[in-house]
Symmetry: C2
Subunit: 568 residues, 2 copies
């Protein structure tokens, strides 16, 4: 603990100050009467920049996207209606391991203590419902009071950062302007250092196994990104000359042109060389591995029995479980101790090649579309995918230093549009490309207006194929419940911003698509591509088909075979 003298601050100012010290520069959300007082403090202090969103769900997605690039994100909502509107996005941050701070400006403490009925509540005499609901989707939660605010604000911010999970705090509207005593030292985002003995033993155990192995390999899940250890993993792979594969959720966490990068491991559907390297490795180091049906080819993944499982704050080596160690210290220790290998050859990587399509005037197909997209990607892109046929993005080879953003575990359609606002805000200097289907886009379309309002220049590729094609692969190939309204998507930019200079394209052929891809990116580019409702790349369809068997079981309706099936 510091010996610096404490100081006094208003609770709201202290919260904003701590967020700023934690690296949060923007706050997303929707004003409401219970949070306006904090917004006024934000405005008066200039601590953070306010990015108002059209809805709280979109604010939660934006904060998630922002946190993925920035290390930490935050949103501000109002009591009850705002908090519950944002909870799906915050739940997604939990599922996807993203540190987000959800602040609900809540009813005054005066009303809580006196049991006064207030709007934006369940009006049933209890004021804990939203805290209770959030307890199930966050790593920590609290209602701030003048007594606990100095402690709780730091605890919640630190918990979010350390656990890479969201937290939830309620700031009663009548305490933001009250003075409290607060710590004099700035907040430092840091893990508690590892237990020295556990760290030494853990590193030694890993080094022993890796050194003795004949075919060691590394398998990376998204926690490698969240805990910021991708550079260490690449350093280790390089020093040992061993292959490194990723789970689909971790696409691009390891730079794809990196010589030791193998590809995506997803069980049976993996490329054979990836599958062999992982499944037959005699010492696999797995980072944050979380097997779900969507990350394991419907549980067809099969890691070696002696896999070392390293997580953010613990490691399993054989029967031993090491606690009080941090992933970064473990990996750095292993890199230092492991002998440099010279014998293993790196696998030659074929460069990505965009081949011209046979008939550029033919109706656009998914195959031609994704082939063209391969040629469009460039170094440093932030590449977004929403759930749907755009999952074909997993099959593209990414140039160096690209960042993949998606919601693979949580799989909330519409996530990408809100999250795009977040990544654009976090890193406006990069090129951001969104691949989204019509069904996903309709959920959160209005946030395009906020993106336009702030003069961002993403490239948005929307597939208009009349509905939920990925669901047609599960069930209801031609059923109307998978249809959606057919919007004039490309007209939306000018509706959302009257004076927009956005370039909109409606694409029906490869030629049309090439024209759109040639447009200069000095403003937002919106490309609506019309494609067949039954067209999807084989990996996407296969995944849906197999998912149906898993979802509905042996007596399910998928057996009547009206599913979308890939063309062989």
């Amino acid at each position: 603990m510091s010996n610096s003298p404490n100081r006094r601050m208003k609770i709201g100012d202290f919260l904003l100050c701590r967020l700023k010290e934690a690296g949060v520069r923007h706050l997303f959300g929707v004003p409401g009467d219970y949070n306006l007082e904090l917004l006024q403090q934000l405005q008066d202090t200039g601590a953070l920049k306010w990015i108002g969103t059209c809805s709280e769900l979109n604010a939660s997605y934006a904060a998630d996207g922002y946190a993925r690039l920035n290390g930490l994100g935050a949103l501000l909502v109002t009591n009850g209606v705002g908090a519950l509107s944002a909870i799906n996005g915050v739940g997604g941050s939990y599922s996807e391991h993203v540190p987000v701070i959800c602040i609900a400006g809540s009813i005054p403490l005066r009303s809580v203590e006196r049991g006064l009925g207030m709007h934006h509540t369940m009006a049933d005499g209890s004021y804990d419902h939203f805290l209770d609901a959030y307890a199930h989707v966050t790593a920590a939660h609290a209602r701030l009071t003048p007594r606990n605010a100095a402690v709780e604000i730091d605890r919640l911010i630190l918990t979010a950062w350390r656990e890479k999970r969201p937290v939830y705090m309620e700031l009663p509207s009548d305490i933001a302007y009250l003075d409290i005593e607060v710590p004099a030292d700035p907040l430092t985002l840091a893990d508690a250092p590892s237990d020295p003995e556990r760290l030494r033993s853990c590193i030694a155990a890993i080094v022993r196994r890796l050194s003795a192995a004949k075919s060691p390999a590394i398998l990376v899940d998204s926690d490698a990104d969240r805990f910021g250890v991708a550079p260490e993993l690449m350093q280790l792979a390089e020093k040992m000359q061993i292959p490194i594969a990723v789970i689909n959720t971790a696409k691009s966490v390891i730079d794809e042109p990196f010589p030791h990068y193998l590809g995506i491991y997803i069980g049976k559907p993996s490329e054979p060389h990836v599958r062999e390297a992982i499944e037959t490795s005699d010492c696999l180091l797995a980072i944050g591995y979380r097997p779900l049906e969507v990350t394991t080819g419907d549980f067809s993944a099969s890691l070696p029995a002696n896999t070392i499982h390293a997580r953010g704050h613990s490691v399993d080596v054989g029967d031993d479980n090491y606690q009080a160690v941090t992933l970064k210290e473990v990996l750095n220790g292993v890199i230092d101790a492991i002998p440099r290998a010279t014998s293993r050859a790196s696998r030659p990587v074929a460069p990505a090649v965009a081949r011209p399509h046979a008939d550029p005037s033919a109706k656009l197909t998914q195959a031609a579309y994704w082939q063209a997209m391969q040629g469009y990607l460039r170094e440093g892109d932030v590449l977004f995918v929403d759930n749907g046929t755009s999952y074909a993005l997993f099959g593209l080879k990414f140039p160096p230093k690209c960042t993949f953003v998606g919601s693979v575990n949580w799989g909330s359609i519409g996530y990408s549009v809100g999250a795009l606002l977040g990544t654009l805000t976090a890193a406006p200097e990069r090129r951001h490309i969104l691949f989204v289907g019509d069904g996903s886009f309709q959920v959160t379309a209005q946030e395009l207006s906020t993106i336009l309002r702030h003069d961002h220049k993403p490239v948005i590729f929307l597939i208009n194929n009349g509905g939920y094609t990925i669901e047609r692969g599960y069930l209801g190939k031609t059923e109307t419940y998978n249809d959606i309204a057919n919007w004039s998507y490309a007209d939306l930019p000018k509706v959302f911003r009257r004076d927009t200079r956005a370039r909109s394209f409606v694409v029906k052929t490869v030629n049309d698509l090439q024209d759109a891809l040639a447009a200069p990116n000095d403003t937002l580019i919106f490309v609506e591509s019309i494609m067949d409702p039954h067209d999807a790349l084989a990996p996407v369809m296969n995944s849906s088909n197999k998912g149906a068997d898993l979802d509905y079981g042996p007596r399910g309706p998928q057996r009547s075979d009206n599913q979308l099936r890939p063309v062989q």
Copy 2:
């Protein structure tokens, strides 16, 4: 219990059958892989009509609106992402006492039992998070299994209907097609009959007090609508010749031209004759009264100490609390037993008059706007208000048989657009008019496309005043955090439906508005009215101003007086 032999049905078919028997004719929601199997059963059996929405939040609003007119509503979402996206709307149904059944197609029981990691979950090994979260916003919840489905489906539907609250059920995706034994008799929506002695005593106690009173009166909250006792209350008022007032949440529950209808009681801001009749009554009968700051003029309401409080299933008379009685039986008993009064005169009600505006070419003001609206209303309208300056609607006099729909307790902006889809679906033969502000509209704007898709013909009055004017009354009169993007709202219908025949208007003057109001309602009418960001009727501004003092307390920033204040 019935002695009819049981029969066998598939679980999903049974659920749909029970919903239909309970009077639910439409199901709102978004398809997802975990609910497609139920959608297929819906399609195959034709039990209900599917109304796909753009988002689950909108589905929850639609189901709420539908339930308000239909008596019961339902929505279907998918696991986790869908359930949490809908929870704000379902929470609103709880706060507003609306019986809605939220069905989540959930991960297969196989995965729950084996602990298999699945998408749309928190991916942390537990599958109860969403049930747990919903426990805080519903009257009952359950995960269906083949053992409990026959019992739980009936329990949950009946609980929603009896308690006038939402319920939540998870239908695992691998059990919908499994055969179970189900009751042979159709589901009957009915309360258990009252305890005969309690009912007799309760009626006698009420009759005794009412008969002895010199100035009895009735005060009605929205439960009178939910429990369907408005006709009984009007009958009682008529028989006794006594005045009947409503809380703002219950506007239109008592037909406004009814001779004994007094007006809205909201504490100090009430009209003097309403306030006097309620506060000085020597025997006030209050129906489902729930005092919140927004229904009581910031707690300035003051009911007489001896007020009789009648609720859906219990009554307080003096020190006695009567349980096991139903509101309808109580009221019918009182009507039968009470002597018919002849001495009291009914209050003459001034008919609503729309006065022409002084200068029809002047810039449109809120005063002129609402004056014109008064003349536009007609018998039988369904009249929607979203939170904002459109709350001026409370000041209009409604013609006979109108229905007011709003979210006053819960106050979730954007509710109205989704709910409008619901009421249009429930009662397409009526005229539905929406009064909404730009900020509220932006939250759920996309559901306009579903309204257009189904050829509905509501009249939508959108106030474009550049942001959250109602919040400017709390704080930040000119602060940018209360600003929003300026959409071309009137262009949205043609973007959402390419071949729409909707009539769109952009209104800047009274003349413009009159032109729009003269348009034939043979298709959807969308009227965007441009008004000043600082213009609002005095009751709306006063409410915001007073709310600020309540929200922020004596040290709050509202004291710096940058609030929007009504022109005196």
